[in-house]
Amino acid sequence: MKINVPFSIAIAVLSAIIALLGYFIENSLLNQIRSSLLQSAIILAGVALIIGVINMMRVHWVEMRGGKGNKIYHLTFFAGLILTLLLGGWFGMSNPNGYWLYEAVVVPVEASLMAIMAIFLTYLLTKIINRRKDFFSIVFLVTVLVGLLTSAPFLGQEIPFIATGNSIVKSLLHLVSNGAMRGILIGVALGSIATGLRVILGSDRPYGG
């Protein structure tokens, strides 16, 4: 809808300017308006998450009815969702009966995924030299190994200059890494500012302008 586009842009630009000014100007009226805007954004972010879940349910439902994918996966998804909603809604999420599914499902699945990811990454590290035979791959690999060795004693023994107390290798690693990360952080900040300004100036319209 054409009429809606400039209206949305105006809202976005105005709310962005008010929210941004709050960082640099102290004014009670401005702060009040800014606070209302931020509060609205919080509520809307929460509602957006619920809408996301509803949309996910819809997609699963449509795919299940359309025979797309394995039906049992969709059914499992709905079973988990409904059961959690019922238990959590009835008992409350802080009640042991409520967070039962969280402890039984979410924690083991996520932790196990993280655990096997470590195995896969270790396996991939063994291939890195054969995949890319260059100086930087070797630097990367050596840093990973040093990073591992500095984090714990090697077979119970502290390796001189590496894993002993505040070793020189560890200090150097921190120093070099700090320099690089500071550069990356400045770059990220500049990128965030550029992207944010595009929204503030209305040239980027992620809200569907």
Binding site: S94, Y123, L145, L148, S177
Partner: protein, 601 residues
């Protein structure tokens, strides 16, 4: 290549773009699109000039030199003129063959004539039409010769061959008028209209039919074609040949606007609109040569960006499930061995400045002091975060601090509950929810949510996750903004989340009041904020070794030290495995290449 400016919104577009990327209007007039990308958007004149010169009679050459303003006028001026206004050659034909000659010219100019006949003689401006008329003019002519079979061959009648073109020169003005008038370029033509019968006096306006136009003209286009075959002037042959080519592409497909994809429809934008030429001043005069080069470079970069580059055939290493499973088994064995037998007992001997600072920050916390504990990590990282945070949270519990939990992760609220329960159990504390700790729950909105909470926590989260108002309790009554908390502890494994918290907290709280407990995976990201002469955070505990150092320094045997031995064993075995794996892979590769060489020999 020049930038193509949109005729409607005036925005610059790629030179080869057919549609404006800003307003989606057609950039090349319809006829131009049909001709192909080489054709430039201009009037008919230059395109005709490309035709072989020797075959063009003088009168037509003059016609090609038409200026746009010469065609200015009202459309009704261009309608078939009464016989007295007809050009000499037509007049002479009229004299010789009666109505037939007019019929032929009438057919030749059929589309505009017929459309005008049907639509009426409504006055329409020609000026702008002429500008975009290239395709359209041709189109109109093409319509006139819709019957392709009847197109003339090269054998023209003798009278026409003998006729010197120079004789027409005197009447060139009239011819220009004539052509400018009868070929209105903006009126689209429906082929079916041909079947209506052009000679029908009911359709042909009276002023045309009445004066010198015989109503006995052949009604069918076939007949007209026959007439054309005999009577067409040589110069028009090229035009007709061109129109014939267009005829075959009559079914044009709309490329822009809401009707995109449909064929045989009126164009979205008015073709009569004047095409705006880009302001040359911007592209030529106001930029230096260097700037132009940069612009070209930029254009080239953008063009390169869009091109699909052939993917180099990567040297794909075959998956080695054996090695993968071997690594899994060894690490599993090391874990089981480490957990069951505790073979490498020990404690970290190093001293960490970050841990020391974190411990210092805790000295300001007294019993019942409100401490904000932000639990921002996923369940997958619970194990590590527990080892990182146990020492500090345990010490807070020992001090009797009032813990206020908060998370910007939807599952974080439950993580917080779980963390406190686990530390309560392991540290032998008796911390009760509501009296000793509360959970404010989930704070959505990322940076916006964090900023709002920092400024006014009471408004942002008025109730706990149990829907209770804790802001009136004795511990919380003085909290108006985040700086009023005795300490803020951020636990996270997410680099972006850590950065957001540091950025938003900056200037709203003294750095000494903020301690970060982070996963080892984001330690390098957070460290620049801490490791400087003027740090933005007051303390940093990272990874299991940070947690183990804390516990060692605090004299507590917590989760980090519980895992420490087994962890050391796993890390040691993983270093071995990585080196072993590299060796195996290198040998495998070497063998593979040597066997290939042997095969080659």
């Amino acid at each position: 290549m020049e930038t193509r400016f949109c005729p409607f919104c005036g925005q610059p577009n790629q030179p080869d773009a057919q549609e404006c990327e800003f307003c989606h209007a057609r950039l090349i007039p319809l006829g131009e699109i049909e001709k192909g990308p080489e054709s430039e958007t201009s009037s008919v004149v230059p395109s005709i000039e490309q035709e072989p010169q020797p075959e063009i009679p003088e009168w037509l050459r003059d016609l090609r030199d038409l200026k746009l303003d010469e065609t200015e006028g009202e459309i009704d001026e261009g309608i078939i003129e009464p016989v007295e206004d007809l050009p000499e050659w037509l007049k002479s034909r009229d004299d010789q063959k009666g109505s037939i000659s007019l019929e032929s010219s009438e057919t030749l100019l059929s589309d505009s004539l017929k459309n005008e006949s049907i639509i009426g003689t409504e006055a329409m401006p020609i000026e702008s039409a002429a500008i975009t008329s290239d395709g359209h003019t041709e189109n109109s002519i093409s319509s006139s010769s819709s019957n392709e079979d009847s197109l003339p061959d090269a054998d023209f009648p003798d009278w026409l061959k003998a006729m010197p073109g120079k004789e027409w020169e005197d009447d060139s003005d009239k011819e220009e008028d004539f052509f400018g008038g009868v070929v209105p370029p903006f009126v689209d033509f429906d082929e079916s209209l041909l079947d209506i019968g052009l000679s029908d006096s009911s359709i042909v306006p009276e002023e045309i039919a009445g004066e010198g136009v015989s109503t006995s003209t052949p009604s069918s286009t076939q007949e007209t074609g026959e007439v054309l075959e005999k009577e067409i002037p040589g110069g028009l042959e090229d035009l007709l040949a061109k129109s014939m080519h267009l005829e075959t592409e009559e079914k044009r497909i709309e490329v822009a606007g809401p009707l995109a994809g449909l064929s045989d429809i009126l164009p979205v934008e008015p073709l009569i609109a004047e095409e705006k030429k880009g302001f040359d001043i911007f592209s030529n005069l106001l930029i230096t040569e260097k700037q132009r080069q940069h612009a070209e470079l930029f254009e080239q970069l953008i063009a390169e960006e869009g091109k699909t580059k052939p993917i180099k055939s990567a040297v794909t290493e075959g998956s080695s499930p054996g090695l993968r499973i071997f690594i899994f088994v060894i690490i599993l064995a090391a874990s089981i061995f480490g957990v069951l037998f505790n073979p490498l007992p020990g404690k970290p001997s190093e001293i960490s400045v970050g841990v020391f600072d974190a411990m210092q920050a805790l000295t300001k916390v007294s019993a019942h002091s409100p401490v904000l504990l932000i639990v921002d990590y996923e369940a997958g990282d619970f194990a590590e975060m527990q080892t990182v945070g146990f020492g500090l949270i345990d010490q807070l519990m020992v001090k009797g601090a009032y813990l206020v939990l908060l998370s910007t992760n939807p599952l974080g609220a439950l993580q917080g509950d779980r963390l406190i329960r686990q530390i309560n159990l392991r540290g032998n504390h008796d911390y009760e929810e509501q009296t000793d700790w509360v959970n404010l729950g989930y704070l959505p909105g990322s940076s916006a949510g964090i900023q709002q909470f920092i400024q006014s926590p009471r408004i942002t989260l008025p109730l706990t996750s149990h829907n209770q108002n804790i802001w009136a309790t004795k511990e919380m009554k003085n909290i108006q903004k985040i700086g009023d908390f005795a300490l803020v502890v951020v636990m996270t494994e997410n680099a972006s989340q850590a950065r957001t918290w540091i950025e938003q907290l900056n200037g709203n709280i003294t750095p000494n009041q903020v301690v970060f407990l982070v996963s080892s995976q984001i330690e390098p990201v957070v460290e620049p904020y801490y490791a400087s002469i003027s740090p933005q955070i007051g303390g940093l505990v990272a990874g299991i070794n940070g947690g183990a150092i804390y516990e060692t320094q605090a004299g507590r045997n917590g989760m980090a030290l519980l895992y420490w031995d087994a962890y050391g064993l796993i890390v040691s075995s993983s270093v071995f495995l990585i080196l072993f794996g590299i060796l195996v892979n290198t040998i495998g590769k070497f063998r593979q290449s040597s066997s290939k060489k042997a095969e080659g020999k």
